[in-house]
């Protein structure tokens, strides 16, 4: 498993290839790889986005990402999982996150990558602040994507 928080711009595909080559290697049990990459768009909620700041809670964020990947390993019997997430200053077209799952069969890889992304968005402590023509704004969770975490 690899969980990483990156402060600098990164190439998600190169990170994936490096992890596969150096850690997972040519494991002949792997039949399926499912990967998701999220990137910064230049529009959100009908406003032009010039750039973005991504904040996290060091320690807690890594813990939750690890728990989320472990849950997917257990539920879908995936062989391994990877999450790399950017923080700091980002611009449109910059990669934000890569999630990858490796498994014997495609169903489990597809489901694991999707579950990890959904859990990451609902639970992992990251916060986006967008710079638009109207100044800075903290991004609100999308309706229907709220977590079930108790609120004060």
């Amino acid at each position: 498993m690899k969980i990483e928080i990156m402060n600098e711009k990164f190439d998600p595909w190169q990170s994936l290839v490096d992890y596969k080559k150096n850690v997972l290697q040519n494991n002949p049990k792997i039949g399926a790889t499912s990967v998701f990459v999220g990137t910064v768009r230049d529009f959100n909620d009908d406003e032009e986005v010039q750039n973005m700041e991504l904040e996290h809670y060091p320690g807690m964020t890594e813990k939750y990402l690890e728990d989320i990947v472990n849950a997917a390993i257990k539920k879908y019997k995936i062989i391994d999982g990877l999450v790399i997430h950017r923080v700091g200053a980002l611009e449109p077209t910059d990669p934000i996150v890569i999630v990858a799952s490796w498994s014997e069969h495609r169903d489990n890889a597809f489901n694991a990558t999707r579950d990890i992304m959904e859990a990451l968005k609902a639970e992992a402590p990251f916060w986006k602040k967008e710079s638009t023509n109207n100044g800075f704004r903290w991004v609100e969770p999308t309706i229907g994507e709220e977590n079930n975490i108790d609120e004060i």
């Binding site: 813990k63 990251f126 986006k128 903290w138 609100e140 977590n147 975490i149 108790d150 609120e151 004060i152």
Partner: protein, 77 residues
């Protein structure tokens, strides 16, 4: 007892600081601590709370040495 408090994102903006160390006399719940810290402040409707890197509900009783964090709903990914 000693409590370490952290604020993130829009909650940090409202509190005007990212952390503070507190000495409190009696054990408080997360909610009681939040109310006492935000007296007179206009606070957001939705605030999550974590103690020692785990989400807790608002009635969680704080212990000596706990790190408690207040922040808005998360928006990563």
């Amino acid at each position: 007892m000693k409590i370490y408090v952290k604020y993130f994102a829009s909650v940090r903006d409202i509190m005007g600081k990212d952390s503070e160390d507190l000495k409190i006399e009696t054990s408080l719940s997360a909610n009681e601590l939040w109310k006492s810290l935000t007296v007179g402040k206009k606070t957001p409707i939705r605030v999550l709370v974590a103690v020692n890197h785990e989400y807790v509900d608002k009635n969680f009783k704080l212990k000596n040495g706990d790190e408690i964090a207040f922040f808005p709903p998360v928006t990563g990914g």
